[in-house]
Symmetry: C2
Subunit: 344 residues, 2 copies
């Protein structure tokens, strides 16, 4: 049995979209998967009742975990745990931390989810920060892109940590063999980049993962750079967030332009671009925490929630968390045994 | 008469593409516009002769300026001026600096063009660095995006300088009234961003241009953010270069996906997206130098060169250079009269 704790109060359309999304995911998943709806029990029972028979048929695979406190968008992320300890996010993450759940999914406040995940699940050894990863569609295979916005000012050592996180995710969840890591820069040559990236390039070459060199912005949609195929692209969260948001907005803009053009069959174009549909790539894993914490867009619809639940199942069953723990422990041990020649 | 000095030896397809591009531009421009082809005179005469009557009809509007030294991609940008003083880039820029030409266009080494432009044309008062601007197509009107890669590590004060450069370009060349300036960040709130952007936000609010606030990656393709329409987006050259290259690669990737889909009429899609054709937005002005220095892609074809020449004419005739000089002198004078409360 794999149990997914779902923050049923998180997101712009809660609790309706999470509950509908859970029902959709359960219909598509095997019988041994269950969803724990976390939120105000009364509201959730009422929401389930509104789905009638559809909900009744899945009721044996749905748990309801009461979380009476409700967090709003105006609550400060860091204050949430202190002021409203029984909010749905905290209750869901505690379920997971206590081993009563195998993964956590939320469309609530991203900052709150990051802070609460780090505090309640804890970080793997040797890490200073968690990172948000996204799986990017490309012309070839998808790639793991991180950090997508958790960390705006990063040191070169933090970029190395992100590379290990991305590599382990690609290996376990995407089943890539010896994943190929690229460092985002403004030229493929090692000496290109800003100060942090130049330092990171040297650390990446010595780190022990499969570093294929610097990659450029153009290599992301292509899925490959000068050194060939890329499985993971590493950058700081400022650049990552800017590129990710840019990407999400390019598609609607292009569709709007195509729509204005008489000769273009809109439904064919939409169909062809379905693989870029945001909701199909809507859930971003928060990497570095002990466990599985999946971040959904605040505006997630039931389909996006269902995709996120299935992604959470896949991550929970992939062995990602165990692999990350043992690998980072080994890297941290290695660092202690060798002189830290990069410290000031 | 407006005279455009064209580096006829610069770019992957030189001298063929520059010469063909010059002929194409001359056919489309008014009679009073002339092009000065800068390069090895013998090669250029031969190239023109190959165009037969087409070239002969424009010959009275074409100057040939001999530049016997040839720079290769392996020459270091900074060494070019010392080791090969009579290369086409240096000769062309000197023509412009001496007032014997009104603008300079090149598809040669971008780093060399930046260094040579700054050295030979000099910077406007108060500037520490030039910036590369690009004109971005959006769902609405185009916007000026800078820095696109000239400066990888920028201070908050340099971002302020870029804002003035972009504002003046938008006002004079794009004819935008009181251009609306956005600062690229990861949230619209003033306190969002990395350390440099947070400091820049405070400086932008006090600077005197029309600052509409932080904008996000998603606002670039939309051409507008939470505070409405945007004419100029300012960021450092690392982020700018990553986003620009990313954007350039998204379109071919989408077309490849659409092409694989049976129901999509490829020629209609290509036609609808023609406004995104790279060569139509191929020339990037190097802003901050005294004069007009237009940077083309190394792989520019004759069409891209022709567009760049017409862009150079427009910039030269717009009064951009004079406006930039007087505005930056005023800003620099203002800074001297008021206490520098941001210095450490």
């Amino acid at each position: 049995v794999t149990r997914i704790a779902l923050d049923a109060m998180g997101g712009d359309f809660a609790p309706s979209a999470p509950v509908s999304g859970a029902l959709r995911a359960l219909r598509e998943l095997d019988e041994q998967h269950v969803v724990q709806l976390v939120g105000r029990a009364d509201d959730l029972e009422r929401e389930l009742a509104a789905h009638g028979d559809i909900a009744a048929r899945q009721r044996h695979r749905i748990g309801i975990v009461d979380a009476p406190d409700v967090v709003t968008m105006s609550d400060r992320p860091t204050a949430v745990l202190r002021g409203k300890p029984n909010n749905s996010m905290a209750v869901g993450l505690r379920l997971h931390a206590d081993g009563r759940s195998d993964a956590f999914v939320s469309a609530g406040n991203t900052g709150a989810q990051m802070a609460a995940s780090a505090m309640l699940l804890k970080l793997h050894p040797g890490l200073t920060r968690p990172a948000i990863a996204t799986v990017f569609p490309t012309a070839g295979r998808s790639l793991v892109f991180l950090d997508a916005g958790a960390n705006v000012d990063c040191s070169a050592r933090e970029l190395v940590q992100f590379a290990w996180l991305g590599a382990t995710y690609a290996e376990t969840v995407l089943r890539r063999d010896n994943p190929r890591i690229g460092l985002l820069s403004i030229g493929e040559e090692s000496e290109k980049g800003n100060a942090v990236v130049k330092e990171a390039n040297a650390l990446f070459r010595a780190a022990g993962f499969n570093f294929v060199g610097n990659v450029e912005g153009r290599d992301i949609p292509r899925g490959e750079g000068a050194a060939g195929r890329i499985d993971v692209v590493v950058c700081d969260g400022f650049v990552g967030n800017a590129i990710l948001k840019f990407y999400e907005a390019v598609m609607p803009m292009l569709l709007a332009i195509l729509r204005r053009h008489a000769g273009v069959n809109e439904s064919h174009v939409s169909e062809a671009l379905a693989e870029f549909d945001k909701s199909r790539y809507g859930a971003a894993p928060l990497l570095g925490v002990r466990g599985v914490s999946m971040i959904c867009h605040g505006n997630s619809d039931p389909n996006a929630v269902a995709v996120a639940i299935k992604d959470a199942v896949q991550a929970a069953e992939s062995g990602m968390n165990e692999m990350m723990g043992s690998r980072l422990a080994a890297v941290a041990g290695e660092a202690q045994r060798t002189p830290n020649h990069s410290a000031a």
